[in-house]
Every structure is written in structure tokens, then in C-alpha cells.
């Protein structure tokens, strides 16, 4: 078994290193600094760390004011809270003027696990994606998370980065180059293209392995930037594969599946698109793997759904 890690850990370490390199980086948290792993930055740079307490809207508005004054604020909370209770200030004060605030949502998706629906963010990609000027980043493993942390600091505008606490294998070596707006193809194949994001990239690879046993060749594409979407890679997949499949730990409404649908909607003779994810439902308490099983987001169940769709 490969070693498994949670993307939030790589983020905490990268943020610490970023802080030592760039004095304009400041970090805000809302009473979750151990969970979000900003604790490392907090201990190293207390003068650039602000825990506003349990008040996420106040946090992002404060960050906006700091960004307007030349700083690069990283705001942190669970994905559930940082994209919902703060939505109005994110829209008015950050997205509208394009201020470079970095919103980092950890513990995203079903794999948040036992805390249940109140904490399982299944709408965050959709909420952030429809805001003009906001980039949406969803790294697949620790290497990509680390690189993305530096990349979003360099990005001139607002960014939402989605992280999780589900242990995933390392998919990339240090030669990988994460770039905002660029998708990466992890496995090639012409029968079906699996477009996955975040935790689901490793599940898509598992599915591809199983499909190969049935002589179904699957291309696996890591969509680590959902906005701006790498349209060239998606359109190429649409022109070459017999079936497109989006895989996300998120509602099938408004997230990656919708982004792919929008991208291919103008292409004549585009193949069918199967959108895998949570089908317009709330989550519930359970172990992460139990929830993925229930929502058919394991390698085996993804492969089964692909086989069925291919007929």
C-alpha cells in the first residue's frame, strides 16, 4: 500500500515556507487553526497571523481590507463555512474588485465524515465558480497542494482552494508542475475519459485500472483547476473518447460536471457526459469510505457505472 496523506497537511507546511519567503503573506483563521493546519504559520509568524474567532464573514472582510493595502491574505476555515456564511462579503468585497484574497476551505466533501451534513461541503465549488474573477483550485495530492499553495499566492486575483482530510496517495513526483488553469493527463486511453478533481483523482485511477482488465482503455485527467477550466484538454478528450465522465466529491449540480458540460456543450458530436458525484442530496454521518461507497465514488463503483454507460 502506498503511503496516504491528507492535502491539508501539505498545505500547512507549504504555507509556513511561503510565509518565510514572502513577508506580505498574512494568514487569517476562525478558530480552526489546528484543523486547517495554519497552526504552523501561527507559531512561526504570530505577528502575521490573526485568529478572528468564530466569525467567518468578519474574517474574509478583514482579509479584503488587508489585500487592498498590499498584503496577500490566506483565509482559512472548513470548506463548508468559508464559502457559505461569507458569501456576500466574498462577492462584494473580494470578487467584485478582484482583490488577491486566498480562500482555503479544508475538510471539503463527504469525506469530512462523521460530523454529518452540516459540515460536509458539497456545494462549495459551485458557489465559488459562479463568481466572476475567482479562480477555483482543487489539488489531487500533497505534491500538487504544495505547489498550488505557492501558485495561488502568485495569482493576481482571488482564489478558492479546496482541501480535504481524506488520506490519498501521492500521485505526482517533484517533477510535476502545477499551473493554475492547466489539467494533467495521468493515464491515456481512448474509450472513455475520466475527468476527476481532488480526492476523486485517485479513485478515477483505481477505476481505470479495473476497466483495463475488461479491455476498456480509460484516459484519466486531473482537473486541479476547475476555473479557469483547461478547455483545450477537455475539448480534446471530447473529440477522442467515446464517453466523458466527471468525478467529484461534490454535488453533480454546479461543480466540475457542470463546468465540463458547459465546456463541451458547443461541440458538435460530443460524446455523452456521465456526471458522477452526489446526486442533489445532503450528506450524513458515517465513515469517509462508507459515504464514498454509498454515493458510488469508489474505484469499483465508478468502473461499474462506466461499464453500464458504455453498454
Amino acid at each position: 500500500m502506498p503511503e496516504l496523506t491528507q492535502t491539508r497537511y501539505a498545505y500547512g507546511e507549504a504555507l509556513l515556507e511561503l510565509g518565510s519567503q514572502r513577508t506580505e503573506v498574512v494568514v487569517l483563521d476562525a478558530d480552526l487553526y489546528k484543523s486547517t493546519r495554519t497552526v504552523l504559520f501561527r507559531d512561526a509568524f504570530p505577528e502575521r497571523f490573526i485568529d478572528v474567532g468564530i466569525s467567518e464573514a468578519d474574517m474574509v472582510s478583514t482579509a479584503a481590507g488587508m489585500a487592498a493595502t498590499g498584503l496577500i491574505p490566506f483565509c482559512n476555515s472548513f470548506a463548508m463555512f468559508i464559502t457559505s456564511i461569507c458569501y456576500l462579503p466574498i462577492r462584494t468585497q473580494i470578487a467584485y474588485p478582484g482583490l488577491p484574497v486566498k480562500l482555503v476551505g479544508s475538510s471539503a466533501g463527504l469525506t469530512q465524515g462523521p460530523d454529518g451534513a452540516s459540515h460536509q461541503s458539497l456545494e462549495d465549488i459551485a458557489l465559488m465558480r459562479i463568481l466572476p474573477n475567482v479562480a477555483v483550485v482543487s489539488p489531487a495530492d500533497e505534491v500538487e497542494t504544495r505547489q498550488a499553495t505557492f501558485a495561488i499566492a502568485d495569482w493576481p486575483g482571488p482564489v478558492y482552494m479546496r482541501l480535504g482530510r481524506y488520506p490519498v496517495p501521492c500521485l505526482f513526483d517533484d517533477g510535476h508542475r502545477f499551473e493554475i488553469g492547466k489539467a494533467t493527463t495521468l493515464r491515456d486511453g481512448g474509450d472513455v475519459a475520466l475527468l476527476a478533481t481532488g480526492h476523486m483523482v485517485c479513485k478515477a485511477l483505481d477505476a481505470a485500472e479495473l476497466l483495463a482488465r475488461d479491455r476498456i482503455e480509460a484516459r484519466v485527467i486531473n482537473i486541479s483547476t476547475i476555473k479557469p477550466l483547461d478547455e483545450a484538454v477537455v475539448q480534446k478528450a471530447a473529440s477522442e473518447a467515446g464517453l466523458l465522465v466527471s468525478v467529484e466529491e461534490h454535488s453533480v449540480i454546479g461543480g466540475l460536471g457542470s463546468a465540463v458540460a458547459e465546456c463541451v456543450s458547443g461541440i458538435a458530436n460530443a460524446p455523452p457526459l456521465l456526471r458522477l458525484g452526489v446526486r442533489d442530496a445532503f450528506g450524513e454521518s458515517g465513515l469517509a469510505d462508507e459515504l464514498l461507497e454509498k454515493h458510488r465514488l469508489t474505484g469499483q463503483l465508478i468502473a461499474a457505472d462506466v461499464r453500464r454507460a458504455l453498454g
Binding site: 464573514a57 468578519d58 472582510s61 478583514t62 481590507g65 488587508m66 462577492r91 462584494t92 468585497q93 467584485y96
Partner: protein
């Protein structure tokens, strides 16, 4: 420090001119936020023409004092001040809220020179002002941050989150000013949520608090000087005002929170602010 009588007379004339610009730029037949813009006119005048370290030739000067209009619907008062200072041409005021104008209906910092943030959705500005004040501390700059809030806006819960944050971080460079005109979009501000005892509430949140007549320019200047002395905690100035101040038939009338004047009403309003300006210039 007490502001000199000559300076007060000068500021009164400036406030009268600012009110003239507010009415003139709004014109007839289109709904505008007359009430809150006029109630804030003396406060905005004292900030830009008395208190703030500000270079209109360089509105991005890093050391400038910052003014954020948290009650964003009153931004015409700020547009008037910025135009009078020469940050953008006075002729541009006539484009207010027109398609393609830099002067949006609510503040858009990326569109209009001299604005420090985007507001309009009420309740978010004080947090943003905190951010600017915290940034000064982190970056080693010494500017002050002034944030004007409506009293109705205080019904938004985020204001009180921000009030606690400012007190926690002892933001002595931060000054909140409450335009206490006692009216909101539909009703009196005591409807829905009681605000009183307002001064005591701010004090209990850890702020230095004072209360003044928000149309007495000398009192506003004195209060802004008093706020300078509050170096260990944020300061709030509760400025008692009259919504629509300066146009008799708009004063204290909730229906003119956001409303259109007829041609006849507009001529009458313009006549009143012109007459008030003439009086200050005769002095």
C-alpha cells in the same frame, strides 16, 4: 486642539458646496439616495477637508488616511468630495449611475479613483476597515482609518463581530462614525431591532465612544481630534444627524431614502442648497 473659527466658516462653506453637488448630480426623475447622502455631508466634509492626511494628486499614496463609506448608498457625498478635491473632474458627477460611468450606484473601488473598497451590501465595511488598520500595523505604516456607518446598518450582525475584533486588537488608528439619522429604507431605525442605548453598547464592546451633533462642523472636527487621542482602543463617534439635511422637504422623511424628485421638487431642492451656499459665501 480646537478648530479655528475661520476654518469652521470655511468648512461650512465647503459642506454647503458639497450638498449642492449632491443634489445637482442626482437631478430629477431618477431614484437616488438623497437622505443618507445629505445627512453625511458635514461628516464627509470634516474628514476630507479638515482631518485626513490626503493628497488628491496621489490618491494611492501609501501613507494616506483611509476613508471607507460602509453605508455605500451614501457614496454620492464621497463622490462630491473627491471631485471638489480634484481626484476626478467635477463634470463627471453628472454621469452618476449612468451606463459606462465610473460613478457606480454603490462604491466600486476598481472603477472610481479615490475609493478604498467596495461596499453597498450593508454591514461589511467595519471588518474591512479593521483589515486596513491591521495592515498598517503589519506593514509599519501610520495612517488612520475612518469608517462611516449608517445607524440602520448597525442591525447587521457582522458590524458587531467587527467591533469585537477591533477592540481585541486595540486598533487605536481606527475611527468609526455613525450617521445617526434614525431612519432606514422603510422605517425608523428603532423598528426591527432596538439600537439604544447605542453609546453604552459601543463602550461595552471596548470602544471609546462619544456623541455629537453631526451637523455641527466644529463639533465633528473636535470629535475627530478627540479620536486621535484614543491610541489604545478604537474610537466611535455617534453623530446625530437629520436624514435629508439641507433640503427642507426631504428632512426626516423616510420616503426619500431612495426616491426620485419631480422636476419641480428638484428645482426647489437645488434652490435651497444654492441659497444655503450663497449665505456661507456672503459671510
Amino acid at each position: 486642539m480646537t478648530v479655528s473659527p475661520d476654518k469652521v466658516a470655511d468648512l461650512r462653506r465647503t459642506a454647503a458646496e458639497l450638498r449642492w453637488h449632491i443634489v445637482a448630480m442626482m437631478g430629477p426623475n431618477m431614484a437616488h439616495h438623497f437622505g443618507g447622502s445629505l445627512s453625511a455631508a458635514d461628516i464627509v466634509t470634516a474628514l476630507y477637508f479638515y482631518k485626513m492626511r490626503y493628497n488628491p494628486h496621489d490618491p494611492g499614496w501609501p501613507e494616506r488616511d483611509r476613508f471607507l463609506m460602509s453605508k455605500g448608498h451614501s457614496v454620492p457625498a464621497q463622490y462630491a468630495a473627491l471631485a471638489m478635491l480634484g481626484v476626478f473632474p467635477q463634470e463627471e458627477l453628472a454621469t452618476l449611475k449612468q451606463l459606462g460611468s465610473r460613478l457606480q450606484g454603490h462604491p466600486a473601488m476598481h472603477a472610481t479613483p479615490g475609493l478604498e473598497g467596495c461596499t453597498g451590501a450593508l454591514g461589511e465595511g467595519l471588518s474591512y476597515a479593521n483589515g486596513m488598520a491591521l495592515a498598517a500595523r503589519i506593514r509599519g505604516l501610520s495612517y488612520n482609518v475612518y469608517c462611516l456607518l449608517g445607524d440602520g446598518e448597525l442591525q447587521e450582525g457582522q458590524v458587531w463581530e467587527a467591533a469585537m475584533t477591533a477592540a481585541t486588537h486595540c486598533l487605536g488608528s481606527l475611527v468609526a462614525i455613525i450617521d445617526r439619522n434614525r431612519l432606514k429604507a422603510m422605517d425608523e431605525t428603532r423598528c426591527g431591532k432596538l439600537l439604544d442605548p447605542l453609546r453604552e453598547r459601543w463602550a461595552s464592546f471596548g470602544w471609546a465612544a462619544c456623541e455629537i451633533d453631526g451637523h455641527d462642523v466644529a463639533a465633528i472636527c473636535d470629535a475627530l481630534d478627540w479620536a486621535d487621542e484614543q491610541t489604545q482602543q478604537p474610537a466611535v463617534i455617534i453623530a446625530n444627524t437629520v436624514k435629508g439635511k439641507g433640503v427642507s422637504f426631504l428632512e426626516g422623511q423616510p420616503q426619500f431614502h431612495n426616491a426620485a424628485l419631480s422636476e419641480e421638487q428638484f428645482e426647489r431642492a437645488l434652490g435651497e442648497v444654492e441659497a444655503a451656499l450663497a449665505v456661507t459665501e456672503d459671510r
